[in-house]
Symmetry: C2
Subunit: 344 residues, 2 copies
DNA sequence: TTTAGCACTCTAAAGCAGCGAGTGCTAACT
DNA sequence: AGTTAGCACTCGCTGCTTTAGAGTGCTAAA
């Protein structure tokens, strides 16, 4: 079901105009401002066709048309071009991410979400790197005082986790060292996913034969793994949705903001698009999750050394400046990948 | 300017009723539901007096009265009793905080703000413990590989900061150890505030004589101090303000939510009440900050081992269930103090 | 000093008219 | 056949008037 060239141009015009103004678009507007060289009457006919084909819809009889979900989809797939960033936008993305090579990964992530929302004027969200998917590098235990120690766990992708633990029995430095190096040897290179409870138990049995200690350390290890089951989701610019005319009513705002407070839900939503490479665009009901079926979610995966770590995206009303947002997101992910991959 | 007993009872009734219903309170309502044993006409006269004395105000001529800021203040200071928590509330505070003795301080804080907002149905905020005010305990450097090391900085109140640094020159373990123990010796027991740039420079000069290294470690030290200049503020239940009838308009919502996004501002606000012991109640314009002069802020300081670390509070419209919110906050802070102080 | 009664005020809700943007249809034009 | 001008029609929006009701302040009687 291919559209005629003329229909394409008209659809394009309607979508573009509606994205800008948030108002229904009338035939007159299309005729005048998008110099198609046809009268409004002709365009009216074409628009009626497009409506019948479900690319456009009418809020009420005497209003202009707005793009339907199908219309946006067609626009995204066939009509829009490649967006261009202004120098200013380019610069702020660059600056806020490239400077931080020394910083910890969580800070880079937090920065990324901040720029993304401030540049796009949308709400943006990013899944923190999944602890689970990174691999064990080393573990240390620092004695703090007579009874307590600090366990530090380091993974390849720059994660550093630490916990204070009780060392029930006082332990000679030599013994402690022995235990720790045993663990390091056993665990090195495993992904955190692979450090299962059963593996831990096995190790524990193994060690108990030699030293009756570190019960606590193991509890910690398990706990810390369980806790991090799920990566954090960082949000930026949540108030930006208040500027969107489609969220003028308090109920809608409430609905969206409550959604944003449910971190685990956001995680699920972001996780679904994780496998796919490149940019994923989900318009309206293309989103599986009910609460965002009036929104568009645009996401992209980011990587460390070519391995996908998490995803970052923008959420807003289906009336979104796709072309531009996609360009921004693409640029940001490139920069993010580079920043993360270099010197790690 | 003491109020007559009767006026007190009427003022009490008006405040109580308005807190519950959010509507202006008429003389009839007071007469009927608060069994004062007077007719509405009498109460009308008294209310007129109270209005003249600025305890009450009238939205418009033919409406009931609502408490003025002064009215709320009087209520808080002289009229309200001690609130009682239900068992359920008591329990959820207890449970969400007492279980976590082993957890890190930031998680306890995060939990606290979550319970507080969910129990009170208000937005709650808590200032993370001030890194600045805690004292240096020890510092370690763990070599990660040939060129990088992990600096771990531990303070008395359970803070653990860490950073990956480049060790430009490779360094023998012995030398590294020497430097670190020198630093530990010099810095132990100082509050982080006291670790000024000039002190660092001094140490640096001192060390340079012996070892031409660790430039990076010092940069880190300085940076990390500067970064943490300001404690984090945790927010909970930001969407709760949407349930308050005084925030029905999108502009007000916008105003409040934007405020919530400015962490540094929230910090300032919380910091002002830091010195005072016990519960601080700021109603309307009693707040210094313009943006919250239509709100009431109730805060309390929390402590570790009797030393004030930060403050936790609730923010909402001036029409707030003071009695109850205060009881909840008081209970929460007690629990929080206990949880934090035990075994640290 | 208290209270019943009453006139008065003001808001919020409901009903109604006119405006204007935009449509669909028809007939004329190229 | 495709395009366009013209026109009647639809319908939400705006502003106006009206009405109902809640609550007041005042006065005069108890």
């Amino acid at each position: 079901m291919e559209l005629s060239e003329r229909k394409k141009r008209i659809l394009h015009a309607v979508v573009a105009s509606h994205i800008q103004t948030a108002e229904p678009v009338g035939s007159r507007t299309v005729a005048r401002s998008y110099r198609i060289g046809l009268s409004s009457a002709t365009i009216r006919n074409e628009m009626a066709d497009l409506e019948e084909m479900a690319y456009l819809e009418q809020p009420h009889t005497s209003a202009g048309r707005i793009p339907s979900q199908k219309g946006y989809r067609y626009y995204v797939d066939h009509l829009m071009g490649a967006g261009q960033l202004t120098e200013k936008e380019e610069l702020s993305i660059c600056r806020s991410l490239s400077f931080d090579k020394m910083r910890e990964i969580e800070q880079i992530i937090a920065n990324a979400v901040r720029v993304l929302s401030s540049v796009t004027n949308q709400t943006s969200l990013i899944m923190g790197p999944q602890f689970q998917k990174s691999t064990f590098q080393q573990m240390r235990i620092l004695p703090l005082d007579e009874t307590r120690g600090l366990v530090v766990l380091i993974t390849d992708s720059g994660f550093i986790k630490n916990k204070v633990i009780d060392l029930n029995q006082t332990l000679s430095p030599a013994e402690l060292h022995q235990v720790v190096s045993y663990l390091n040897q056993k665990l090195y290179g495993l992904s955190i996913d692979q450090v299962t409870t059963s593996l831990i138990n096995e190790l524990k049995r193994d060690l108990f034969r030699r030293l009756e200690i570190l019960e606590q350390a193991f509890i910690l290890l398990e706990e810390s793994l369980r806790e991090e089951q799920q990566a954090r989701v960082f949000l930026g610019g949540t108030t930006n949705i208040l500027n969107q005319p489609e969220f003028r009513s308090v109920e809608k705002i409430h609905q969206m903001l409550s959604l944003f407070e449910k971190e685990s839900l956001l995680f699920e939503i972001l996780e679904q698009n994780l496998d796919e490479d490149g940019i994923v665009i989900r318009i309206g009901t293309e989103n599986e999750h009910e609460d965002i079926q009036e929104c568009t979610l645009i996401t992209a995966a980011y990587k460390i050394n070519r391995r996908i770590l998490g995803s970052v995206g923008v959420i807003g009303p289906t009336r979104m400046d796709y072309q531009w947002v996609i360009a921004v997101l693409r640029r940001l992910v490139d920069q993010l990948n580079e920043t993360l991959s270099s010197d790690r």
